[in-house]
């Protein structure tokens, strides 16, 4: 009995903590925050693996400045990304596209995981039946 109450209390604590911790921020993101978030998703053209935000290469600094400039000018994130793609190519985006052939990189793992999960369920069902029969 006490234990059940304990679990209910636990659920309440977790629920409240998550609610408090995941409230959306009150203010919309500032220009700097937007520019920083965009820079995280742009590849440093001279150093593989790092984003423009993390890199000190001159090309990265120029791209960061360009992003900041365009954010100030009121361009949308999509417009800025499109601009960079039109100058540097598709691979300047660190996030692979969600459409076309490249979207497979998003889809395949999900398919594999769901497939494996389904396989496990089937196997356990079969084992479960065998258990009952014997």
């Amino acid at each position: 009995m006490y234990r059940r109450l304990g679990w209910i209390a636990l659920a309440a604590v977790v629920g409240i903590a998550l609610f408090v911790g995941t409230r959306p921020p009150e203010a919309p993101p500032t220009s700097t925050e937007r520019a920083d978030a965009l820079a995280e998703r742009i590849r440093c053209p001279t150093c593989r693996g790092q984003s423009v935000a993390d890199s000190d290469a001159p090309a990265s600094e120029f791209i960061r400045e360009e992003i900041a400039r365009q954010v100030e000018q009121g361009q949308s994130d999509q417009e800025i990304e499109d601009y960079l793609v039109s100058r540097y190519g598709d691979d300047v985006l660190l996030v692979p596209p969600r459409s076309g052939l490249a979207s497979l990189v998003w889809v395949l793992p999900v398919v594999a995981l769901v497939g494996a999960g389904a396989g496990l369920v089937v196997v356990f069902r079969r084992w479960g039946r065998a258990w009952v029969e014997t």
Partner: protein, 200 residues
């Protein structure tokens, strides 16, 4: 030591399905495909990024030149839009970059060779460097074409420049026709001009 029979002899030979067989065939096929793919890849170093600008109308290049030759013959301002009818080599460089230093002679030759026909211009854009360095560099190494500073990187990002030296060939109609990563030689440029149909 006890003589051991392999495990398999002990396992009853009831039908077990062919899961391992089919899975390994599938894995084998995928791995062979992956190997074929990896085996046919060139090393990344030789795969030059194609600029998405190729075939497109050239982004703007304009500004005040920071090089003024003593005799005052160099053009103080440059406007890519004014160069219609001429080929233009848009060269991004820095004084601290070794291949840039090496290509400077070739650019000087190129400009001299085309001075008479006036069918080609070179414009250099400074990539992350100071005006003082650039002035000293041109004084030492020659060259009196327009050199435009780009401290905030507007032209550098417009052209999608990743590192120096990088050069672009703009045709007489103002379209980007070629991108050269790394140092250029005057021969290479002449050859490219011929290939692009701009025999001089």
């Amino acid at each position: 030591m006890v003589a051991l029979a392999p495990d398999e002899a002990e396992i009853p030979r009831r039908r077990r399905g062919r899961l391992a067989l089919w899975s390994s065939v599938a894995v084998g096929v995928v791995v062979v495909a992956l190997i074929a793919l990896l085996a046919t890849r060139d090393p990344s170093g030789t795969r030059l990024a194609n600029s998405p600008l190729l075939g497109k109308f050239a982004p703007d290049v304009s500004g005040q030149s920071i090089i003024v030759s003593p005799d005052g013959s160099s053009v103080p301002t440059f406007e890519l839009g004014d160069q219609e009818g001429r080929w233009v080599i848009v060269n991004f460089f820095a004084t601290w970059c070794v291949p840039c230093q090496e290509e400077q002679d070739d650019l000087v030759t190129l400009v001299a060779d085309h001075a008479e026909a006036d069918d080609l211009r070179v414009v250099s854009i400074v990539f992350s460097d100071t005006a003082a360095n650039v002035e000293r560099y041109f004084a030492e190494r020659g060259g009196d074409w327009p050199v435009i500073d780009d401290p905030d990187g507007q032209m550098i990002t417009d052209w999608g420049v990743t590192a120096v030296p990088e050069s672009y060939i703009v045709d007489p109609n103002g379209y980007v026709r070629a991108k050269i990563t790394g140092g250029v030689t005057s021969q290479r440029i002449e050859q490219l001009l011929v290939d692009l149909g701009g025999a001089s």
